[in-house]
Symmetry: C2
Subunit: 328 residues, 2 copies
């Protein structure tokens, strides 16, 4: 199918076209910048995104991007499912992007918990996709914003980005979301430890899931004590949920709405989206440069330089310069 | 102090020089490729690293690089401490690099658990450093290999790289270590969930820590069932430890030695180090290119392009091309 038709169909919200475009993004992530069809699609979407393109008028996207992050086992997928239901009740069109930055080896892995979202499989206003990072060096940082553009163009009002794991992924999701939700659960060894890992800085909203388990109150108290001294205009609210039973959905939506209002009023939304646009441009630029290294035989050239580095015949900077000299 | 003296002192294993050089790496990570003093140091080390430079003769480094990864709370720092003691008993010089990829906001954060390693503070044959990622776009991918070069040049026989969190960090540590140890603990919600996150693919050795806790045996069984069907010449052993009491240290060392022997015999060590050298060269090359974007006013240029992208006046690829056109 030609790109023009795909783009037109995606803008009409046709699931197959949306899926095929995200697959285009995912496959191109292996050699970022190498796919001219993707470029064509993104150029076509550029006029489709933006205020008014899909309603909402909150800036570059019509869609509001909500990131969900937390350690394995805290209930991210269940919480995502809860949010899908809650936003659907409001009549919103919902996109879900589950990014799995630790699966470069398996490629395209469908996260197991995705099955819990099967109930939405026949809902034409819910788009759910997993996306694995095929490459390294920022493959996902490169691919995720483009997948968001596809879902936005398909008219999603809300896009939930679910990411696996604490660490870099956590920070990355904060860089591309308007609102970042950090999930914790009692007795996961997650309280203070997680706070140390930089989680405080990226959370706009905390969710203590499995709030019916022992230790939930203690975790809420611990979070409250940690959040209390935070300065700045926004102090992340702490919402208790039992996502498996849908408990706390209204509280969570209220907290999310409050943050959206804050983003609008403070000008923070514009600042965040500007930073995101900068990242997006720079990441694509670097990917395109990388694709131009040693056009006459990129792999062979890199192997040759790596061999010399291993043999201590060169240093990494000189080897890098030699690679740069091959820029086609 | 001039770089030549720093390098000479580091090669004599002087802790202050080692620390200052790693700080040089860490600071340069904010603007990778921008520091000519670092480049000079790395060039000087190029002849110092390699077979015979610091004993061992196992390839590019004398040092054997062991990565430790796992979710917060599994006991990574305690296990690192246990390994330091075990290797010191064998008379090995040990370097520890604790990388915290989720702390770009705090910068240079000394991980709290580092205090547990205070017992080695006066040991001249133990070097311990935390390193935070100041930037994004691969800041740590760029900095870690260079910090390893410093520790290697200082004559470390073993370098333990401890990383925070599952996700991208987990994969990154596997890309730069000779041997990757994945730690799990019972009742962390980590069993099957962690396996889903791609942990199986990167583990050379599994450690079930807190083996005295309920559920440890079940976790070992679960891992055994998951590992059993794995094909390939190396099946990751599963070691049970109680790191806080030093229990299992000998078993873990034996598993690590077995993997080292396998790496040598199979040629896998060379393959891994070649892949690592390629990554290192390419990452430096990209960082140097990035530093050359829009030399007349990089920030202003990026802001301008980001504004236009937000206003839907351009698409990300065209904006990236405009950025590339400014390459100085």
């Amino acid at each position: 199918m030609d790109v023009g038709t795909l783009v037109a169909d995606a803008r009409r919200g046709r699931p197959r076209a949306v899926a095929r475009l995200i697959t285009l993004v995912e496959n191109a992530a292996a050699v970022p910048g190498g796919d001219e069809r993707l470029r064509e699609a993104m150029a076509a979407f550029a006029t489709a995104t933006g205020p008014g393109a899909s309603g909402g008028g909150r800036g570059p996207y019509g869609a509001r991007v909500i990131g969900l992050t937390g350690s394995p086992g805290v209930g991210k997928s269940t919480s995502t499912g809860m949010l899908i239901r809650a936003f659907r009740k409001r009549g919103r069109r919902v996109g879900v992007l589950a990014v799995d930055p630790s699966s470069p080896f398996t490629g395209g892995a469908l996260l197991g918990d995705r099955v819990r979202m099967q109930e939405h499989a026949t809902d034409p206003d819910v788009f759910i996709r997993s996306m694995a990072s095929r490459g390294h060096l920022g493959g996902l940082a490169w691919a995720t914003p483009q997948a968001l553009r596809v879902l936005d163009a398909a008219g999603c009002d809300v896009i939930l980005v679910e990411t696996v794991g604490v660490g870099q992924a956590e920070v990355d999701v904060a860089r591309l979301a308007d609102t970042t939700v950090v999930l914790l659960a009692p007795r996961m060894g997650d309280g203070i430890q997680a706070a140390k890992a930089g989680i405080l800085e990226v959370a706009d909203v905390f969710v203590v899931n499995k709030a019916d388990h022992d230790g939930a109150q203690a975790l809420v108290r611990e979070l409250r004590n940690t959040v209390a001294p935070l300065r700045g205009p926004w102090r992340p609210p702490i919402v208790s949920t039992v996502a498996s039973r849908g408990e706390g959905a209204d509280d969570l939506l209220a907290a999310l709405d409050k943050h959206t209002a804050y983003l609008d009023e403070s000008g923070e939304l514009r600042r965040r989206r500007l930073a995101r646009a900068r990242d997006e441009i720079e990441t694509i630029a670097l990917a395109r440069l990388r694709a131009r290294f040693a056009p006459e035989g990129r792999e062979r050239r890199l192997d040759f330089l790596a061999e010399r580095l291993l043999a201590a015949e060169t240093d990494p900077y000189t080897a890098a310069d030699e690679l740069l000299a091959t820029l086609g």
